[in-house]
Assembly symmetry: C2
Amino acid sequence: MDLDEVDRKILKILQADGRLALSEIARRLNMGNATIHERVNSLESQGYIRQYRAVLDAELLSIDQVAFVRVKTNAGHFSKVAERLAEEAAIQEIHEITGDADLLLKVRVREQAVLSELLATIGSYDGVTETATEVALRSVKEEYDLNLE
Amino acid sequence: MDLDEVDRKILKILQADGRLALSEIARRLNMGNATIHERVNSLESQGYIRQYRAVLDAELLSIDQVAFVRVKTNAGHFSKVAERLAEEAAIQEIHEITGDADLLLKVRVREQAVLSELLATIGSYDGVTETATEVALRSVKEEYDLNLE
DNA sequence: AATGAAAGCTTAACGCC
DNA sequence: GGCGTTAAGCTTTCATT
């Protein structure tokens, strides 16, 4: 990792405010306008910055039913299953995990009915032997900041 | 307070590209500059847009050890415990869930050693009776888009 | 790598419909 | 609610160090 202190500061700033003007970043770091512009371009093309996005309020938009699904698969099939599950828009996270189950999914839908459907679909996938679901009654925290200190 | 088609389109666009110029959004939607500006301001102040952020690459930055922790608490204590856990930067998600455990945490750290420390800390919290941890061997998908149709 | 300067574009505020 | 105008501010490029 060949990031210097300035790069890390830029990443921290943009992680916290993705729309901040580059000229304002330059001001805060006491550097030239063009320098920050070049640095940000480089951070983007090297892949450190994957995307800029507006974070929407899931509750206000009523897309706030969250569930976690543990999936067991036939021996060695979990990667293949995971690739297929990745195409489902309602599945936000797929992790291959240690322990009893093979995959842990985080699912987010508008209504419980959609969850039921999805579970039926997952259950019918080739290589899936078992699913177990836990529903979130309340999501106390959902933040995705990386701690760059 | 309700969103119309234009609002939804704006949210979709900004969710996918949080740094897109408002004038470009206006162009795409065939509307005036000032109109889009007003709409976005309103979406922000109503809370539909919670934040703008750069999404950083956790693997490139080597902050890529992910674990899920199930926490059991003394009867009725889980909300209090959750509030306290929310202050830990490494804990990205806290959900109150159905089933055997009371809380499900998603944790993200630079090294397993930090995870061990965190688990010790959590275990010592008042009201926590038991924790069980699953480590993610690979995270196949981690996306946080809301499906606005 | 970093910079200042300048052209072109964007934002934000205003008044009008 | 939607729009055009405008001044101030921003982005991007380029020649220079």
